[in-house]
Each structure stands twice: as structure tokens, then as C-alpha cells.
């Protein structure tokens, strides 16, 4: 029984960060219809920036956020302005190829700077544990869980009740009408993309302690993020957080209860089944 609780707890904690990873992609998709296949490589970029800051200034990853979030946000804005915006109006699928190309650039840029050896970024809380009965919880996971939900809540409030949030939702619902109402659609799209990448910098820090990182990991994170976004119904905010938890739990159960490769396959199997039988995602609301 304790194994079950352990899997459940671990899955929930990891899943919350997956949800956070996916929120950025969902926001961007909702506003500009762009699916960013270099998403995971931006996570890598965030993680390796933390590593660099640790090696240079021995900053703890949780402190590096002060630097990585603004830098990544700026990078996101530049990428949208110079790479993705020129593609708007062209065939949608070209953006897929463009971001795949960007993924190669990021992944191998990191490889050239940091080399291919798996690396770790130490943190003060890295090895701290919390015992709840039989269940062992790692403190970094707890921090990730708390921060993810606080941040998701903050984003939710931002979307509901600030002008910027309202303009994001307006563009999402009907970009044409939003433009007619005087919303600068282009500006909203740039800012959402920048925000999405900025969130990734935070998520990268949350996932970092205790996780070995290497430049080639990006594609895996992209795939996980895609799984979560699709499970959540692409743009549904609550759905995406839920999707993150489902994937996290599926992964935890898979690795604990099933042997070897079968366990790793679990999230993908769930993804394919949901994609086929509930393409609108997990939540039951009728709004798109």
C-alpha cells in the first residue's frame, strides 16, 4: 500500500512542474496558434544557464531565477519577433519545421558550450527529505509543487482580471474582433510568447535540483510538454494543470509497477489513446 502512496505523491509533485511547463505552450498556442517544437530546448537552456551561474558565481538555482527569468523572457520576445512572426500568414506547418531547426540550434549550441557530459547543479535543499508516514518526499519536489500551483494561480488571476490578461483572452477567442476593439494583437502575441518562455526559466529551476542534465534532453521535454498540453485540451488552463498531474502520475506508476520499457511507455500510450478518443482533452467543458 505504501508503494501506492509513494507513487501517487511522487507523481503529483512531478506532475505539477509538468503542468507548469505546459502552461506556457498552451498560452502561446491559444494566442498565436504556434506549437513550439523547441520548447524542451528552451527548458534545457534555462537549466544550463543555472549551471553556468553556479559555476561562475556559485549561485543556488533558486537564486539564479532573478537572472534567468528576465533573460529568457527577452530571448523569447526576440525569437518571436525575428523568427516566428515573419512566418505568420505562411503555411502553418512551416512553423513546425522552423522550430525544429531552432531546436537543433539550441541543443547543439548548448552542447558546444557545455560539452556532452551529464552535469548536475547542486542546491542547498537538493538532498533534504520529508517523511510522511511511509512516504518519502524530496524537498525540491515539494518546492516545485508549491511554486507551480502558486504561479498557476497567479497566471489564472492575471488572465481573469488584468487588462493584459483580458487582452490575451480576447485575442485567443477571436483575434480579428480583438484587433477591431483596438487591441494590438501583434504586441499581445509577442508578450505571450515571451511570458511562455519566461515561465520555462522558472520551471527549469524547479526541475533542476537532483536531476542530471545533458544537452540532448530537450526533445524529451518537448514531447512531455506536448503530451500534457494535448491532454489538457490545448488551451484550457485548468485542464493543462490536470494533464500535468495525470502524466506525472502515469510516469510514477509506470516506473514503480511495470518493468523496464513498459513503464516508460505508459505516458505515451495514455497520450495516444486520449488523442484518439478524446481529442478535446480531459476536461468536460464545452468551450474549446
Amino acid at each position: 500500500m505504501s508503494e501506492l502512496y509513494q507513487a501517487l505523491a511522487q507523481g503529483l509533485l512531478i506532475g505539477s512542474s509538468y503542468g507548469l511547463l505546459a502552461l506556457g505552450m498552451g498560452l502561446v498556442y491559444g494566442v498565436s496558434g504556434v506549437v513550439n517544437f523547441s520548447h524542451g530546448d528552451f527548458i534545457s537552456l534555462g537549466m544550463f544557464m543555472c549551471l553556468a551561474l553556479y559555476s561562475a558565481l556559485s549561485l543556488d538555482p533558486y537564486v539564479s531565477v532573478i537572472i534567468t527569468v528576465p533573460v529568457m523572457t527577452a530571448i523569447g520576445a526576440l525569437v518571436y519577433l525575428f523568427l516566428i512572426r515573419p512566418m505568420v500568414g505562411h503555411q502553418f506547418l512551416m512553423v513546425v519545421q522552423l522550430t525544429l531547426g531552432l531546436s537543433l540550434v539550441l541543443q547543439n549550441g548548448i552542447l558546444m558550450v557545455f560539452g556532452g557530459q551529464p552535469a548536475r547543479t547542486p542546491s542547498v535543499v537538493e538532498s533534504k527529505l520529508l517523511l510522511l508516514g511511509d512516504v518519502v518526499l524530496r524537498v525540491p519536489h515539494l518546492i516545485a509543487f508549491a511554486v507551480s500551483f502558486v504561479l498557476a494561480g497567479g497566471l489564472y488571476v492575471m488572465l481573469r482580471s488584468t487588462d493584459f490578461g483580458r487582452s490575451i483572452r480576447a485575442v485567443h477567442q477571436n483575434a480579428h474582433a480583438a484587433a477591431l476593439m483596438g487591441i494590438d494583437v501583434g504586441r499581445v502575441q509577442v508578450m505571450t510568447f515571451a511570458l511562455g518562455i519566461g515561465i520555462l526559466a522558472l520551471a527549469a529551476t524547479l526541475l533542476l535540483p537532483g536531476t542530471p542534465i545533458q544537452p540532448t534532453q530537450g526533445l524529451r521535454y518537448t514531447v512531455i510538454t506536448l503530451l500534457v498540453v494535448v491532454l489538457g485540451g490545448m488551451t484550457n488552463f485548468v485542464g493543462i494543470m490536470l494533464g500535468g498531474l495525470v502524466i506525472g502520475i502515469a510516469e510514477a506508476f509506470g516506473t514503480i509497477y511495470l518493468e523496464g520499457p513498459l513503464g516508460l511507455l505508459m505516458p505515451y500510450l495514455i497520450f495516444v489513446l486520449i488523442m484518439l478518443f478524446r481529442p478535446q482533452g480531459l476536461t468536460w467543458s464545452s468551450s474549446r
Binding site: 519545421q97 558546444m112 526533445l219 503530451l227
Partner: protein
């Protein structure tokens, strides 16, 4: 319509280029011959992907499965069961074709949009690589080492270097010819109709399921056969190379750079980018690993921004303007 294909088949330029290419092993050092052989592998792969990805406009990321089955399964059958690699090639190609049909059927049955198709095929590709890496019969994570190539044609051996080059040249030529044939056949027109407007195609009575399945089956079988020949050339069946989604991404990018949906576009992309990447890797690979992929990425982004339809249409446009100016 078919006239164009027979014109290509009887064109002296086509055969002339092939004949000149076939004499290259006598002129090049083994290092440059190796680079050319690799380029031909990617010409063949990108051209086979083009049938689905370019003509039908469906960005399939599942092609690593077909390449991987062609490479890993035929090697495993040879090493573990003693099955002749020619037979292995055939069995793998049939399985790949069946898998391709299944994927096309799922796409049709569940009415996947373009984006969902990309995602589902990527999920299939990831699952494929996880299965191969965890299954000892297929070599697991450490891969399979094939016996030395002694040039025994009956055992699917071509004597390394020169022989492998000729084999790849033939395969690449076949893949490009299949592209020419399909583009100029009713199938090619149907595929392009489906790409441009699937609903309209359905409304005027195009049997979408049939053509999607045909395209996917042809593409999968070709990719699988090339996979088998590629692994024989490498003599090492490396799962991280042959059944990783990265190989599909490379192919997609080569095809995009050259010109999607064109008969010679993907070939052009592979012929330009693979030698560039390999030379860079040879010169700087030890000091700057990953530089060649980095450059691929930059080239792809640049080409997409400057000429989204690829380099081939760009070159054609320049050529036409140059001729008119004269």
C-alpha cells in the same frame, strides 16, 4: 501525365548524371566517397519521406520507425535467427509497410488534423525507440554488430566502400524516380489535392483513405529498405542513430531546405547539407561536437525565412530570370 515520367526515364541527362556519378569511386579518396555515400542515404530517405510529408503535406515524424525496423529488425534476424539479410529486408519492408498503413488508417479513422498527426507520429516514434532500447532481441541500448562485409552479394554484402556507394546510388535513384513517377501520376495529383484542401478533395469524391494509405505504404517500404542498406553499410546497428526521432527531424529539415513536394527538392537539400555537415564534423568534430547540427539548424531557419518553399523553387526562379535577361 505519365509522359513526364517516361521522358525522365529516357532522358539522356538523367542517365548521364547517373553514369558520371557511378564512376566517382574511381576518382575520390575513401573519405570523400564515404561522405557521398552518406549523402545518398539521406537523398533516398528524404525522397521517400517526401511522398507523405511533401506531396500529401502530412508532416510524419514516424519515419524513424520504418528506418529503424529496416535496420534493427533485419540485423537482429540475421544475428539471432540466421535469416538471410535479403529475406530480412523483405520481411522488414512488409512490416514497415503494414505499420505505415495502420498509421494512415488511424489518421483517417480519427480525422486527425495536421497538428495532431505530427504529435501522434512523434509519440509513436518515441515509443518505438523506447521499445528497441529495452528489448534485447533488437539489440537493446547497446546495438548490434553485423559480421564483416566480405562482398558476398547473396548475403546482402556489397564489399564496403565502392560497392556500398553503388548500392546507395541505385537506391537513391530509385527513390527519386518513384517521386517523379508519383508526381506525374493520378496518385500525385490526388495527394496534392488532399494537401491543399482535404475537405474539398473529399467533396469532389477523392478517396482520401485509399490515397493516404498508398502514399504511406510506399514511403514506409522505401524508408525501410534504405534503413537495411544503411545498416549494412555502417555494420553497426546503433539504436540511438537509427531509431531515434532525430533522424526523422534531419530528413524533414533536408526536404524542407530543398523544396517540399518537389521530385528533386529533398535530394537537393540532402546533397547540399550532408556534405557540409560531414566536412564540418570531420574538421571540427573533436573540438566542437554538434557544430554540424548547429549549422543545419541555422541553414533551415534561414531558408524558411527567405524562401519558405525551399531552395529548388528559388534556384528555378533565378535561372528563369537569368534566361529572360539574356
Amino acid at each position: 501525365m505519365r509522359g513526364e515520367f517516361y521522358k525522365t526515364l529516357s532522358s539522356p541527362i538523367w542517365w548521364g548524371v547517373l553514369a558520371v556519378a557511378a564512376t566517382l569511386p574511381f576518382m575520390l579518396s575513401s573519405y570523400y566517397l564515404h561522405i557521398l555515400t552518406l549523402s545518398l542515404v539521406y537523398v533516398a530517405l528524404a525522397s521517400s519521406w517526401n511522398i507523405v510529408g511533401g506531396m500529401a503535406g502530412q508532416i510524419s515524424l514516424a519515419h524513424s520507425l520504418f528506418i529503424g525496423i529496416g535496420a534493427m529488425l533485419s540485423s537482429a534476424m540475421l544475428l539471432k535467427l540466421g535469416i538471410n539479410m535479403w529475406l530480412g529486408l523483405l520481411i522488414s519492408a512488409l512490416i514497415s509497410g503494414a505499420l505505415g498503413v495502420a498509421i494512415a488508417w488511424i489518421d483517417f479513422r480519427f480525422q486527425l488534423g495536421h497538428l495532431s498527426f505530427v504529435l501522434i507520429t512523434l509519440a509513436f516514434a518515441e515509443m518505438g525507440s523506447i521499445i528497441v532500447e529495452g528489448w534485447d532481441f533488437l539489440g537493446g541500448a547497446s546495438g548490434l554488430l553485423l559480421p564483416k562485409d566480405t562482398g558476398n552479394f547473396l548475403a546482402f554484402q556489397f564489399g564496403g566502400g565502392d560497392g556500398a556507394f553503388w548500392m546507395m546510388l541505385a537506391l537513391a535513384a530509385i527513390c527519386v524516380l518513384v517521386n517523379v513517377a508519383i508526381l506525374n501520376s493520378p496518385l500525385g495529383y490526388y495527394l496534392r489535392t488532399i494537401r491543399d484542401n482535404e475537405k474539398a478533395a473529399q467533396a469532389i469524391g477523392v478517396d482520401i483513405l485509399r490515397y493516404k494509405i498508398t502514399a504511406m505504404a510506399i514511403s514506409a517500404v522505401l524508408a525501410s529498405v534504405v534503413g537495411t542498406a544503411y545498416v549494412r553499410y555502417l555494420t553497426f546497428a546503433d539504436p540511438y542513430l537509427l531509431i531515434s526521432p532525430v533522424i526523422t527531424i534531419e530528413i524533414v529539415l533536408f526536404a524542407t531546405v530543398g523544396g517540399l513536394g518537389r521530385a528533386y527538392g529533398p535530394a537537393l537539400g540532402a546533397l547540399l547539407l550532408v556534405p557540409l555537415g560531414e566536412v564540418l564534423r570531420g574538421k571540427l568534430g573533436s573540438t566542437l561536437p554538434g557544430l554540424h547540427y548547429f549549422i543545419y539548424g541555422i541553414v533551415v531557419i534561414g531558408v524558411i525565412l527567405v524562401t519558405p518553399r525551399g531552395l529548388l523553387p528559388l534556384f528555378e526562379g533565378l535561372w528563369r530570370r537569368w534566361r529572360e535577361a539574356r
